[in-house]
């Protein structure tokens, strides 16, 4: 088994779709399930899974794309730092074309800034070690799947006694925002498809409060098409039975307690803080800040910069899309003005963005 093909089997997917139809049959009120993982967003669009669901089951996308939920101010700060002499910005590829208030990293690079795309923050650490005369700032964007890697890079930099490696941290955590959205009566969330790899780190137990105290069914789901369909079937079964528990569909990877070592590394380097989410606003305790002990690696503390007041595009509906209120097809700019080649908002640029998925794969 290669852990992929088997979970993409058409027969299996169709069989699960039939099962969902059976479970939801006779249900008058439609069920609304939200996913909060960019990879789920992409998989659902890519495999056209919505078209396999009965009309009683509705899947909506939430704020699952970490690049998309990072407000313009962060990009603007990165752009400002990129303009400082002797500074190298190291970043995941996704951030390059995201539009800030007036520029993007791609545009800055065209103007001569030293900006390098890396696959891993460890590449940025190696870069800092190789070029001690440069100040290397890694853009730390991502949820709990990525944050341990960035924490690991700070530990590696400390071990190498590097004085020129910094992280501009904008990491966010997903369970608290899920609770915030579950309280929105307009959204009417009947259950969550919980993220696959975030949960591998934080553990399925992280959603227990959501399920047990807020009555929202939670199923931790993988992102192959058969996984998503099975996850939806499990949610429908719970909803119809009036249950609200945490279940693990993605049992081949996710444990109830998660990855304790990754959690330790996270807690060693980061501490919870308030964070601003595009489209939602500030959510207390939903971000990760670099702890005081590691302040030497914190770009914001090491060299604070003056940044222009951030401006968002007035017609961009990224914010509502991220909150699950509106679909990309409802945005007046979608595919007309805002395309992957000339994106107006982050949701179109990011490889995990809802608009990018909708554009690429259609309805």
């Amino acid at each position: 088994m290669n852990y992929m093909d088997e979970f993409r089997d058409r027969e299996v997917v169709r069989g699960l779709a039939a099962r969902i139809g059976e479970l939801a049959a006779g249900r008058e009120q439609p069920l609304t399930f939200m996913e909060v993982c960019g990879t789920h967003t992409m998989a659902i669009y890519q495999y056209g899974l919505r078209s396999l669901l009965p009309p009683q089951v509705r899947l909506i996308s939430g704020p699952g794309c970490p690049v998309c939920v990072t407000p313009n101010g962060y990009l603007d700060r990165a752009v400002t730092m990129a303009r400082l002499p002797g500074t190298t910005i190291a970043t995941f590829g996704d951030m390059m074309r995201v539009p800030g208030s007036s520029s993007s990293l791609m545009e800055e690079r065209a103007r001569g800034a030293d900006i390098r795309v890396v696959y891993s923050p460890l590449d940025a650490v190696a870069l800092a070690a190789r070029e001690p005369e440069r100040r290397v700032v890694f853009l730390g964007v991502g949820f709990e799947t990525t944050a341990p890697a960035v924490a690991g890079s700070i530990l590696a930099a400390r071990e190498k006694v590097l004085a020129n490696y910094f992280v501009l941290a904008a990491h966010k955590t997903i369970p608290i925002p899920m609770e915030v959205l579950s309280a929105d009566p307009e959204l009417g969330i009947d259950g969550y498809l919980c993220p696959a790899h975030v949960s591998a780190v934080i553990g399925a137990d992280a959603y227990r409060r959501l399920a047990e105290e807020r009555g929202v069914p939670c199923v931790v789901t993988g992102f192959e098409p058969a996984d998503v369909m099975q996850g939806v079937a499990m949610l429908v079964r719970q909803a119809v039975a009036g249950e609200s528990r945490v279940e693990i569909q993605y049992r081949r990877v996710v444990k109830p307690e998660g990855n304790r070592r990754a959690q330790e590394v996270l807690a060693e380097v980061f501490t919870p803080c308030d964070a601003a989410w595009r489209g939602i606003g500030v959510i207390p305790g939903s971000g990760l800040a670099i702890r005081e002990e590691y302040a030497a690696f914190d770009a914001e503390k090491a060299f604070p910069v003056e940044v222009e007041a951030p401006r968002e595009h007035p017609e961009c509906r990224c914010g509502e899309i991220l909150r699950g209120k509106v679909s990309p097809f409802d945005c007046p700019l979608f595919a007309m003005v805002c395309t992957p080649e000339s994106p107006v908002g982050a949701c179109m640029v990011s490889s995990e963005g809802t608009c990018a998925a909708a554009y690429k794969y259609g309805r």
Partner: protein, 70 residues
């Protein structure tokens, strides 16, 4: 990705013929060559459990077995 070699806390993993370095620094369990791991941004964050994968497939196929629909 499949682990093809291990050197202390570093491993080389492969998928579709592409090889990538994967740090084992934040992994919570021992892995061996031949194991499958989830790699994110150059770090292995979880190991794939083959027995659980088989069980998942069994449950998925059962979803539309004749017995089940009776």
């Amino acid at each position: 990705m499949r682990v093809v070699s291990i050197d202390g806390t570093d491993a080389m993993a492969e998928i579709d013929g592409v090889r990538r370095a994967a740090s084992l620094m934040v992994l919570d369990e021992e892995v061996r060559v031949g194991d499958y791991v989830i790699v994110h941004a150059g770090f292995a964050i979880a190991r794939l459990d083959e027995a659980e994968a088989e069980e998942t497939l069994r449950l998925m196929r059962e979803a539309f077995s004749e017995e089940d629909m009776a």
